[in-house]
Amino acid sequence: MSIHVKFFASMRDLMGDDRDIDAAVVEQQEISTVDDIWNYCAEGKKRSDNVLVAVNMDYVDGQTLVKEGDEVAFFPPVTGG
C-alpha cells in the first residue's frame, strides 16, 4: 500500500508526473496530512493559495489527514465549461 499523488494541468508542468509514496516512506517521513504530501513532493516549491486539493476525489484543505491507499490530487483553478 502507498499513497497515490496526482498532478493535473499546469500543476503537472510544475511538479512532474503522478507518483506513489511507499508506505515505508510515509512512515519514515511522518507524512500525515495533505500539506506533508506537498512538502515531500515539492522539493521546496511553494504551493500557490489557489491550488485545489482533493483526497479520494473530494475537495479538502491542507490539514486533512491522509492514510495509505489514499489518492491525493493537486491542481490549479478549474477552467471547464
Binding site: K6, A9, M57, F75, P77, V78, T79, G80, G81
Partner: protein, 147 residues
C-alpha cells in the same frame, strides 16, 4: 439524470432530441426546459485560438457533476437533467458543454440551469489549454464571470 464525458464532438440538438425521446414516460409533466450550451470561440483575450485541449480528472469529474445535479434536483425539483462535457482536442465552434434541465415551472428551470453551470465552471475538474495561432500553448488561467 445523465452525465456524459465525451471525447468526440457532439451535436447538442441531436443529443437533446434523443434524450427527450427517452423521457416519454414524463410527457405532460414538465412545462419548462432550460438549456445552456458553451461553444468554443476562435479568439480569447485578444488572441486567435486555433485549437484547444481539455483535460479532466477521470472519476472525480463525473462524480462531481453527479453531485451538482443531485443537489440541483433536490433544490429545484428537477424532473430530469443532462450534462454533457467534451474533453480532449477541440476545434473552434465545437460545443464544449451542454446543461439541460426539465421542471414543472420556468423559475426552477432557469435557476437550476444557471446554478449547475456556475458550479461546473467553478468546481468541476476540467482544464483548458489553448493553442494560439503563431504562438505557444497556454493553460487558461481563469474563467469569465458568470454573475
Amino acid at each position: 439524470m445523465k452525465i456524459v464525458i465525451d471525447s468526440t464532438s457532439f451535436d447538442p440538438w441531436r443529443v437533446l432530441d434523443d434524450y427527450q425521446k427517452n423521457m416519454s414516460d414524463l410527457d405532460g409533466q414538465y412545462g419548462a426546459t432550460a438549456v445552456f450550451i458553451g461553444t468554443m470561440r476562435d479568439f480569447n483575450e485578444g488572441d486567435d485560438v486555433s485549437e484547444m485541449f481539455l483535460e479532466h480528472y477521470p472519476g472525480m469529474t463525473e462524480r462531481h457533476l453527479e453531485n451538482i445535479c443531485l443537489q440541483a434536483t433536490g433544490e429545484y425539483q428537477l424532473i430530469e437533467s443532462l450534462v454533457v462535457h467534451r474533453v480532449g482536442a477541440i476545434k473552434p465552434n465545437d460545443p464544449i458543454v451542454l446543461v439541460a434541465v426539465w421542471t414543472a415551472h420556468r423559475k426552477q428551470a432557469f435557476e437550476a440551469c444557471r446554478e449547475i453551470m456556475e458550479d461546473l465552471k467553478s468546481k468541476a475538474p476540467f482544464w483548458k489549454k489553448e493553442q494560439i495561432a503563431g504562438g505557444e500553448d497556454r493553460w487558461v488561467e481563469k474563467n469569465t464571470k458568470g454573475y
